[in-house]
């Protein structure tokens, strides 16, 4: 899952980027209001973490403009401004969740995962496809028969994205955007390599290749 983190405090930004990365997110960071707004408006993020006190343009103004442009990416406001009238204002502006500082990272993670689940129309807290369940904590696949398959970070993100959209064709470029860190050598054959590794681990028949279109995760076997 690809996240945009708009936070002007450099320490918190780098800590969060690390922690979120460990939790299986691809994180783009930005500490400037207008630049962050542009990133949120042009890149296909799965969710955005928005600090309200950004230099250049306040988080609420950015959110208003995004929503006015029809950008519906789920936004979690992460701010020191924790009074209830501020929370009400945040939700009225179009936020999807609100977390006041100081916070526990576990709560941020849980809220982001819930946001993304809801975005892709999944109510359950676990990601399930066929006889597979994705264990988000341990970043591995558990099968109904009790078998457990370890995944690397990239394999986990790739499978997680596919499992969020079961039965749907996902293009290579989309997978590149959502499951691969932008700083890595982003080429489409990289996707092919990782799909091949994933197939070797979870079974060839689960991911179908649609030539010229992309890949599809079968949610039933």
């Amino acid at each position: 899952m690809r996240l945009l983190l708009l936070e002007d405090d450099p320490h918190l930004q780098s800590e969060l980027k690390q922690s979120l990365g460990r939790a299986g997110f691809v994180v783009d960071c930005c500490g400037d209001g207008p630049e962050g707004e542009f990133m949120g408006a042009t890149e296909p993020y799965d969710a955005i973490v928005l600090d309200l006190g950004l230099p250049g343009k306040s988080g609420l103004e950015i959110l208003v403009d995004w929503r006015a442009q029809g950008i519906n990416t789920p936004v979690l406001i992460l701010t020191a401004r924790g009074a209830w009238h501020e929370k009400v204002e945040g939700f009225n502006t179009g936020a999807d969740d609100y977390l006041a500082k100081p916070f526990h990272f576990e709560e941020l993670k849980a809220r982001l995962e819930a946001l993304i689940r809801r975005r892709y129309g999944r109510a359950a807290a676990t990601l399930v496809a066929g006889d597979m369940e994705l264990d988000i904590e341990q970043q591995r696949v558990k099968k109904i028969n009790g078998e457990s398959i370890e995944l690397t970070a990239t394999e986990f993100r790739l499978l997680q994205y596919l499992m969020h959209h079961p039965g749907k064709i996902i293009s290579k470029s989309r997978l590149l955007e959502h499951a691969f860190d932008g700083s890595a050598n982003s080429e489409e054959n990289l996707v092919e390599v990782y799909i091949k590794r994933l197939r070797n681990k979870i079974g060839q028949e689960r991911i179908i290749t649609r030539r010229g279109q992309g890949y599809l995760l079968r949610d039933t076997l």
Binding site: D9, H11, A80, R81, W84, F91, Y98, P102
Partner: protein, 445 residues
């Protein structure tokens, strides 16, 4: 303290009474004076006529050459009399009959007017004059009955008195109306002050008489100063919160670092201290943020303000599917600051959302606020702990005690009462709050 109206009214009544009395007396006096003078001029002419008609015989006795005017002779006590005295001889008008006009004759060339009682209680005006004619001193006195004239003067005076009283009354009534009208702007200012106190107005209207305009302007500028001060304090508090919370967040994050996570005691201590600082910070910042006493033009309409707040609480607790029921008449207005009330309700609803099974019931009317959930409720012994706020009852629900502590601070600030018990309907925790509990009943605020 005496009312302005009574002071103005009584002063005016006294002044009007004095003025009217003096005026009445002056006019009566003037009328009598003018009448007397007018009659006296005729009487002086009569004296001249009588004098011209008098001659003296050889013995020096005065006598009339011709018979005097019939008014003096025709009728007994006709009201017109004369008396001529010279050399111890007296000529009397027949009309005088046996009545003696006792008159002191003035010195020659002088005249003397006086009033005296005549026969038949007549009011006589008497004019005497002494002459020297043909070598003899001669005193001529004429008298005229003024009863009829006096009667008509009295009639005029009565009429004039009546008219004066009517005018006095008209003046008094019109003054009363005028005073009332002038003081009406004071009355409206007083009513506006009451509305201000009730929180129904934000400032006083300044279309008032110039006399009280400085007062109204002063009150308005104080109000706006208070408002600006509140905004300033809240901004400063917000900035402080912002400045402190980001570092706190990082401290909190530190406990997840593998190096620290390995030392469990260290990690727990770190977490505990960060939580303490956060709780103290939140609570004190909240106290600093609390607005006035809710009596300076602040109003909170739960019926319009609560639905967005409920939406917010629902979103924050989106892992649960909570049914909120809000019973609040549209016309309920709490005389309290909006942000304070959102903080109060936000914390209460947040707390209820943490504990509830699936439904939360909010009831607001003029008697107070009741919020109940369908959670496990609270054992009696913990109720005391809830009331002694700041205690965390359940470590799993982080910040539980803090929210209620903040609610307690707000309720205290609005001189309210808060009561905890278990709902007889759902068995969950029920919180009942009344703001301004020292003023009863709340609805008449």
């Amino acid at each position: 303290m005496k009312s302005l109206k009574a002071r103005l009214g009584s002063g005016l009544v006294i002044v009007l009474l004095v003025v009217f009395t003096i005026q009445f007396l002056l006019v009566s006096l003037a009328v009598r004076h003018v009448t007397d003078n007018y009659v006296l001029t005729f009487m002086a002419r009569d004296i001249d006529n009588l004098l011209a008609d008098i001659t003296f015989d050889k013995s020096g006795q005065p006598r009339f050459i011709s018979v005097p005017d019939s008014t003096y002779t025709r009728q007994l006590y006709s009201g017109y009399y004369y008396l001529v005295e010279s050399n111890n001889h007296t000529l009397r008008s027949r009309s005088l009959w046996d009545h003696d006009l006792v008159v002191q004759a003035p010195v020659i060339g002088e005249s003397m007017a006086q009033k005296m009682a005549g026969p038949l209680q007549q009011d006589l005006l008497v004019l005497s004059k002494t002459f020297s004619k043909q070598g003899h001193d001669i005193a001529i006195t004429v008298a005229e009955d003024l009863s009829l004239v006096n009667e008509s003067i009295a009639t005029f005076e009565k009429l004039y008195l009546g008219v004066s009283i009517v005018m006095l009354l008209v003046l008094l009534v019109s003054q009363y109306v005028l005073i009332n009208h002038s003081l009406k702007s004071l009355t409206s200012t007083r009513i506006n002050l009451e509305r201000l106190a009730k929180g129904e107005a934000e400032k006083l209207p300044d279309d008032v008489p110039s006399e009280i305009k400085p007062l109204v302007d002063e009150i308005n500028s104080l109000l706006s100063l208070l408002g600006r001060h509140l905004v300033k304090v809240r901004t400063l508090v917000g900035n402080l919160a912002h400045a402190l919370k980001t570092p706190l967040s990082q401290l909190s994050r530190l406990s997840d670092e593998p190096e620290i996570a390995r030392h469990d005691r260290l990690r727990q201590e770190l977490n505990r201290q960060v939580t303490e600082i956060h709780a103290a910070l939140e609570r004190e910042l909240n106290r600093a943020r609390l607005a006035g006493d809710g009596k300076s033009g602040q109003r909170f309409r739960p019926a319009t303000e609560l639905p967005p707040l409920i939406h917010t609480v629902k979103k924050i607790h989106n892992l649960k599917d909570i049914m909120f029921t809000l019973h609040c008449p549209d016309d309920v207005v709490l005389p309290a600051d909006r942000e304070d009330m959102l903080e109060l309700f936000g914390n209460l609803l947040d707390n209820a959302a943490k504990w509830c099974d699936k439904s939360i019931n909010v009831q607001i009317n003029n008697n107070g606020i009741v919020i109940e959930d369908d959670g496990p409720g609270c054992p009696l012994k913990d109720m005391n702990a809830l009331i002694q706020r700041g205690l965390r009852l359940d470590e799993k629900h982080q910040g539980h005690g803090l929210g209620l502590a903040i609610v307690g601070d707000i309720v205290d600030h609005y001189r309210g009462k808060m009561h905890f018990d278990n709902s007889p309907d759902t068995g969950g925790l029920r919180v009942s709050i009344r703001l301004y509990a020292d003023e009863s009943p709340a609805g008449n605020d």
